[in-house]
């Protein structure tokens, strides 16, 4: 019988010598709405999401609404829904509506649950909302076989169908790809995706490229043993790091970073969002990647 996966923090999560990043302001609230519950099981998943016994439980609707309300008072600029797969959450549409009443809102999805009906409902939500609704659809390669080797059989077709359904309703999805299947000697992954979307008839292609992190199912394949030190931050602007202006509400508390949600070393509060406004610890190998690439999980 398949046993559940448990993700553990590195042993040095509480080492007092690790550098920290001061909190500046709340630019982004992330809701890890389905925890690590997903209908796909991608080989590079940042938080090892999958269909069996999620190691990080989904958030209940009331906790999410409470976080949205508190974030509004605290002057949040934008709200994100992630997981797992957010569209597996039974309350996802009313929760998106609640967030859109407060701030521009983004949902990250693998596209598998974007049926014609859901696409219609998202278009209706977007047209009623005061703020922008963004849908980010994950796709890792423009080639179906290469994509499905990473994301699972049939994932490419469903994601592309979702992109086309959203585009047909004017929702301008942002296609998000990791560099997992980047191939040397060809045009850049960014250009390949833009060309691919143009080929689908999408005249305003929106593409976001993310690095692969040594985390989740990729743990141990890169920077696993590297750590940031106080010296490595000399001359570095910590405002570049999203943990300076981002907080993540997930099962068990408020965390510093979307990809470390659920890890005790990244937890800053077990209660209110406001209580998490304190320095975040750069204790994880994933922090090395953010420091090196300057990447952000945000749309732009």
């Amino acid at each position: 019988m398949k046993q559940p996966l448990t993700i553990l923090d590195p042993l040095d999560a509480h080492d007092p010598s690790v550098p920290t990043v001061a909190f500046r302001h709340l630019a982004a609230l992330w809701l890890q709405i389905t925890g690590t519950w997903c209908n796909l099981e991608c080989t590079h998943c940042l938080n090892a999401s999958g269909p069996n016994d999620p190691w990080l439980k989904p958030l209940d609707g009331e906790s999410a609404r409470r976080a949205i309300s508190e974030a509004e008072e605290l002057g949040v600029k934008e709200i994100y829904f992630t997981g797992g797969e957010p569209f597996l959450h039974r309350e996802i549409l009313p929760l998106l509506a609640a967030a859109l009443a407060v701030a521009p809102t983004t949902a990250l999805t693998n596209g598998t649950a974007i049926t014609e009906v859901i696409a219609d409902q998202l278009a209706a939500l977007a047209s009623r909302a005061r703020y922008s609704l963004e849908i980010r659809v994950s796709l890792d390669d423009v080639d179906p076989e290469a994509n499905d080797r990473v994301r699972g059989e049939g994932a490419w077709a469903k994601a592309v169908q979702a992109i086309e359904r959203l585009h047909a309703r004017g929702l301008l999805p942002i296609v998000t790809a990791t560099e997992i299947s980047s191939r040397n000697g060809t045009s850049s992954i960014y250009e390949r995706f833009r060309d691919f979307l143009a080929g689908l008839g999408i005249e305003r292609p929106r593409v976001k490229i993310m690095p692969v992190f040594d985390l989740g199912r990729q743990a141990g394949r890169g920077t696993e043993k590297e750590r940031l030190t106080t010296e490595s931050l000399d001359g570095f602007d910590p405002a570049v790091l999203q943990c300076s202006d981002t907080r993540v509400v997930a099962d068990g508390g408020v965390y510093a970073c979307p990809i470390l949600a659920g890890f005790e070393g990244a937890r800053l509060s077990t209660g209110s969002l406001g209580a998490s406004f304190r320095p975040a610890r750069l204790y994880h190998a994933a922090c090395v990647t953010c420091h090196r690439t300057g990447m952000s999980c945000r749309n732009a």
Binding site: R24, H25, E72, E73, L74, G75, V76, K77, E78, V102, A103, P104, A126, R130, Y131, S132, L133, E134, G170, L171, L172, S188, Y190, R194, E203, R204, R206, V207, I209, S296, N299, A300
Partner: protein
Amino acid sequence: MGGVYNNWLALDALLEDARRRDVDAVFCLGDMGGFGPHPDRVFPLLREAGVQAIQGNYDESLATGRTDCGCGYTDPRDNHYALVSYRYTWRNTSTENKAWLGSLPRHRRIELGAYRVLMCHGSPRVINEFLWESATPDGLIRNFLAENDADVILCTHTGLKWHRALPQDQHLVNVGVIGRPENDGTPRVWYTVLTAGDTLQVEFVPLAYDHEGLARAMEAERLPSEFVETIRTGWWTTCLENLPSRERQRSRF
């Protein structure tokens, strides 16, 4: 006004329009350079007219010798064009004018009637923060106003004008830019006239100028044809990947 972007022809037209309207003062919310040709032509106009300017991210970069404009783009294509523009402006801005940009304040405060007005480039907290209409929550505006003891915040940086009035007569106004058109399919640019009476009146003013003359000057300077196309058609061709979906839906590209 905001975002001159080297467009001395639009600046000249604006100053003439403002004189005709007999306004009390002219303020510029920064980013004198970028995009257009002949950067040094805007500075004499600004100084002779007594324009009270603040620093934008472009001005800060030029003054401090940064290697990029600090516009805050994250898209590779946007960053490519931003770098082309910045390198041109850097090469063609005099040392004296770079120093002048360095002398500008980051914020200005005025009292307009009973309104306490704070001027900034991007946002009160970050010089290159984008405040788009569809992506700026009321709660954020309320926090900005409370933290800065202001009734009105004026900003620019995005290139798109908008105004939101909150209850209790509080306001955020993005004044737009005069350096490039508004991504609306016309070559006109926009500035803003504020008048304090019983209420705050915010008038967005369209400005026609010799955009064809600017386009020809850009071609002569071998600036990217994509930039020239924007000046002629009014549609943005570059630096638009960070538009939120609502604003991007109105965009041609």
